[in-house]
């Protein structure tokens, strides 16, 4: 076939065109078109996302993309949130910071998730990047308020400091004082995870008062309710606000101050915090409720009655995070008042209790699926489910993209028919053609995986526990789910066969986690030795995995693709093939 002559652009023109192409997916496509585009694109790439810090080395990234200004890196696998990844496993950001300190002096943004960040890393960041603007540490750990003090003191152009859900060693609430009096550029501050009983409140007030562009402020629990008014008066332009403990003695003057302060905040769209709620103070926020798009009540132990009153004031709500105190009746009220709802997360107030403590069943979710036409994302903890409810939800809401159902007791059958929930979840994947994330629970056989493999073509992330009967289940998923990137499995009877038969698939995914399954050490060794672009990590804290016979099932298995080869920072309880074993020398 004759190829027409390509129209050739000068490089600057191409670069200019690329500057309008923002999404990572599109940038990646552009870089693969041809040699010249590859080179130009790599020079003008400003933002990179590394979904697995061990998939590539910092040096490789720097070599390929020399002009980066914004970096996002993720470390531990998702199941680390459930303590399945032992301490010391890895995911330390320091090697990255060290390399970037030299190579990217103009780096502006660092966003990390599930990584170990020490004070040394924070101090290095503070010292190395003169124009540093954004630091987001999501579910990170390993640092203290000393590290934060270094950032506050040195980063004159800092706009965003967001510590969401990280574990911080609170040495002193006074790190806030390290923001110089001349510093005024703060736009977003999230310190909701800090535990310190003494946040230097006066420093906080002064900081808030002198930063006119502040739009997001999420306080920690220690900030008392009676201080909120003075904060809000200093920052009436806030768009997102998180309270501290929302409790105080009932006093009319405190209430009216609070209500007045809230009513002054005309731009407020998102509220969170609400630890220890005293319901009598809830009406203080009513003046902003009509404009609220996000409401996070996942700490608020308030009863259904108060919750119903609250949500009925919020017709513009798009995201709601709430405890199961909302009960079915509250969800029905939600379904009738909040027609713009896109995302719902219902968390369990008492997950370890044997008997249900609240009247929240599958009916609540069915009601929301019927009443909220824009509902796309669901995370729902409950104690019972039925196939008929799941089928109804699927038919009502084919636009679902995220469906994470957590029936608290493993292997719970359909409470009406006592059958498995295969058919219900099958309906979900069949009807919701754009489903990207799915978590399964309840009694499930291999059949549900057959449905998933057949229908869930856009599924990117799947979480499975206590499900399936045999390797066939895993085989269905690995062979059928074309878009699968992350698969996490625990306590399922999946063994070597499906894994080995679909080894190639693993190179097309970001990662696979399997714990308490039946994959043998021998299979892991085989995979590791023969697939050079996969890192096969066997995690076993009881004893070195290679001290056992090959038939032994491994405790935990984490497989991820990588061009960086084996990592060098493995603790002793992690086994991975090394070069010697790959060559058959050990």
């Amino acid at each position: 076939m004759q190829k027409k002559m390509a129209y050739s652009f000068p490089d600057e023109v191409l670069e200019h065109v690329f500057s309008f192409i923002k999404s990572h997916k599109d940038r990646n496509a552009v870089s693969l078109v041809c040699k010249s585009w590859y080179e130009i694109e790599s020079w003008c790439r400003r933002k990179i996302f590394v979904g697995n810090c061990y998939a590539v080395s910092p040096r490789m990234v720097i070599k390929r993309f020399p002009e980066v200004r914004s970096v996002e890196v993720k470390g531990k696998p998702h199941f680390a949130d459930f303590n399945l990844v032992p301490d010391g496993w890895g995911g330390n950001i320091l090697p990255w910071i060290k390399e970037m300190a030299g190579a990217y002096p103009w780096l502006e943004e660092i966003r990390l998730k599930r990584m170990v960040v020490t004070d040394e890393s924070l101090e290095l960041i503070a010292k190395s990047f003169k124009n540093f603007k954004v630091l987001v540490l999501s579910s990170c750990e390993g640092f203290s308020t000393d590290g934060l003090a270094a950032i506050a003191a040195s980063c004159k152009n800092l706009k965003e400091l967001d510590l969401r859900e990280s574990e911080v060693d609170d040495l002193s609430g006074h790190w806030l004082i390290h923001f110089p009096e001349t510093y005024t550029s703060l736009v977003s501050l999230n310190i909701s995870c800090l535990g310190s009983d003494e946040v230097s409140f006066s420093a906080l007030e002064r900081l808030v008062g002198r930063c006119p562009n502040l739009r997001t402020l999420r306080l920690n629990r220690a900030v008392p309710l009676d201080k909120i008014a003075s904060i809000l008066h200093r920052a009436p332009q806030l768009v997102e606000f998180g309270t501290g403990a929302y409790a105080a003695e009932l006093r009319p003057d405190v209430f009216s101050n609070l209500a007045g302060a809230f009513s002054n905040c005309k731009e407020l769209r998102s509220l969170s915090g609400f630890w220890d709620v005293v319901p009598a103070y809830l009406p203080a926020i009513y003046s902003v409720c009509s404009r609220l798009t996000t409401l996070n009540l996942s700490y608020a132990t308030i009863q259904s009655r108060d919750l119903i009153k609250l949500v009925s004031h919020c017709p513009s709500l798009q995201r709601l995070l709430v405890l199961d105190y909302i009960e079915d009746s509250g969800l029905e009220a939600l379904a009738s008042s909040c027609k713009d709802l896109q995302e719902l997360r219902v968390f369990p107030s008492d997950p370890f209790g044997v008997e249900p403590n609240v009247s929240l069943t599958e009916q609540g979710l069915v009601a929301v699926s019927l009443g909220c036409p824009k509902l796309q994302s669901v995370l729902y903890f409950c104690r019972r489910m039925s196939n008929v409810a799941l089928v109804t939800i699927a038919q009502n809401r084919p636009n679902l993209t995220h469906f994470r159902l957590c029936i608290i007791e493993p292997k719970t059958a359909d409470y009406l028919t006592l059958e498995s929930l295969d058919v219900g979840f099958g309906a979900i994947v069949e009807h919701c053609k754009d489903l990207r994330r799915l978590s399964l629970s309840g009694l499930l056989t291999d059949r549900v995986f057959e449905y998933i493999g057949t229908y869930a073509k856009k599924l990117e992330m799947l979480s499975v526990a206590f499900a399936g009967d045999s390797d066939l289940g895993l085989h269905h998923v690995l062979s059928g789910c074309e878009s699968l990137r992350k698969l996490e499995i625990r306590d399922c009877p999946f063994g070597d066969k499906a894994l080995l038969a679909n080894a190639g698939k693993l190179e097309t995914m970001r990662s696979l986690w399997m714990s308490s399954c039946s994959v043998s050490f021998g299979a892991c060794k085989l995979l590791g030795q023969k697939m050079p672009r996969l890192n096969v990590e066997v995690i076993d804290e009881r004893a070195p995995p290679d001290s056992r016979p090959e038939r032994c099932p491994v405790e935990k298995l984490y497989i991820y693709r990588s061009v960086a080869g084996p990592r060098f920072d493995m603790p002793p309880f992690v086994w991975m093939k090394d070069e010697d074993s790959a060559l058959g020398l050990s």
């Binding site: 574990e167 370890f352 957590c406 007791e409 990207r436 789910c481 016979p549």
Partner: protein, 371 residues
């Protein structure tokens, strides 16, 4: 006739014109206010006094052919009129930009050479929109670009890594360290041994001692072992949560200390995350049920089991073939789309290794939710 008389009779003659010459030699005159909208032309007129007559026509850059010049002048003619509203301008732009990709490319290039930034932005954005959402192959088709990235280039980073002498040394040191640890473990593996011994019933031991030809059971993951493990998990999670004071990961009333011996995990609801719809801690799995140790194979339909066995055997055969040869094969594929080498199902869901190689480098820097 005086100049003034001429102006009354033929007012358009009094408009000033600029003379422009395109690379093909053709010369034309263009209304001054229109032409001057282009910074490059403006510069020639003002700084170098060019363009006032046919003889000193401004030579336009090569990338501006007559067709492109015509388009550009249309653009300038519209936009140089000051009274227009933003809405009008936007509307004009949207209509103006509708042309085939080839012309769009030429136009971008031409506008760039005349330094006409607003038009460069307009055309660049249009090109960006064409590129967005497409695969590399599709983009190549549209712009007639060569497929000249080689496999070798993509595999390069990995080769570099393994060749690095420091890395080889580290690997060897690490292997040594692990061996040492293994030795140490063997010395104090009493606990482990005891677990193994526990697996054998008294009967077994007796019959062994008495010389019965009973197969040694070997190491079997028994239920008791699982219990040990689970208890350890629980201890870990409870001690972990207490030690780290993980109260901020738990809502009110949720005590991370396990109340029943069975429960192994804490739940961690997501909170505070305003913009991140995709990530949150969620599922809780109460670790109650014992894992069934029965031979899993028994559950599979024998025909399917056979199929799976065959597939695994195929896979093993392929893997056990000479590895360097394999790599050579892959590297020499070039543009061919061979079927997946390592997947043995037929439905093509597993991409070939060369596909993976093609994607791996940029995909490592991909969007959340993509990698």
């Amino acid at each position: 006739m005086s100049e003034v008389d001429m102006a009354i009779i033929k007012p358009e003659l009094m408009k000033s014109y600029i003379w422009l010459q395109t690379a093909d030699g053709s010369i034309q005159q263009v209304e001054q206010e229109v032409a001057m909208f282009c910074p490059m032309i403006c510069h020639e007129v003002i700084q170098k006094s060019m363009g006032s007559s046919k003889n000193n026509a401004i030579s336009l850059p090569q990338r501006v052919n007559p067709a492109m010049l015509s388009l550009i002048l249309d653009y300038c003619r519209f936009h140089q009129v000051s009274g227009r509203s933003n809405k009008e301008r936007k509307s004009f732009d949207e209509r103006f930009i509708r042309m085939d990709t080839k012309r769009l490319c030429e136009l971008t290039s031409a506008a760039d050479s005349l330094q006409l930034k607003p038009l460069v932005d307009l055309t660049s954005r249009a090109l960006a929109r064409i590129i967005e959402g497409k695969s590399p192959e599709e983009i190549r088709e549209i712009f007639h670009l060569p497929d000249d990235l080689t496999e070798e280039e993509k595999l390069e980073p990995l080769k570099n890594t393994t060749d690095d002498p420091r890395i080889r040394l580290l690997n060897r040191l690490y292997a040594k360290k692990r061996k040492e640890l293994k030795e140490r473990e063997k010395l104090k593996n009493v606990e482990v041994e005891e677990e193994r011994v526990d697996d054998r019933s008294v009967d077994d031991l007796l019959s062994f001692i008495n010389g019965d030809s009973r197969d040694s059971k070997g190491i079997k993951t028994s239920k008791s072992k699982k219990k040990n493990r689970r208890r350890k998990d629980q201890q870990k999670s409870t001690s972990g949560s207490e030690a780290t004071k993980n109260h901020n990961k738990e809502p009110n009333g949720l005590n991370s200390v396990c109340r029943s011996a069975e429960v192994g995990q804490k739940i961690q609801p997501s909170f505070g995350a305003t913009s991140n719809l995709q990530d949150a801690e969620d599922d809780i799995f109460a670790n109650k049920n014992e894992f069934d140790d029965a031979d899993i194979d028994d559950e599979i339909d024998p025909a399917l089991k056979e199929k799976l066995d065959r597939e695994v055997e195929d896979f093993r055969r392929i893997l056990n073939s000479n590895w360097p040869e394999r790599m050579q094969e892959i590297l020499s594929f070039g543009q061919e789309r061979k079927p997946a080498h390592f997947s043995l199902n037929g439905n093509g869901s597993i991409r070939s290794t060369d596909d993976f190689a093609m994607r791996i480098l940029p995909q490592l820097a991909s969007q959340p939710g993509q990698f």
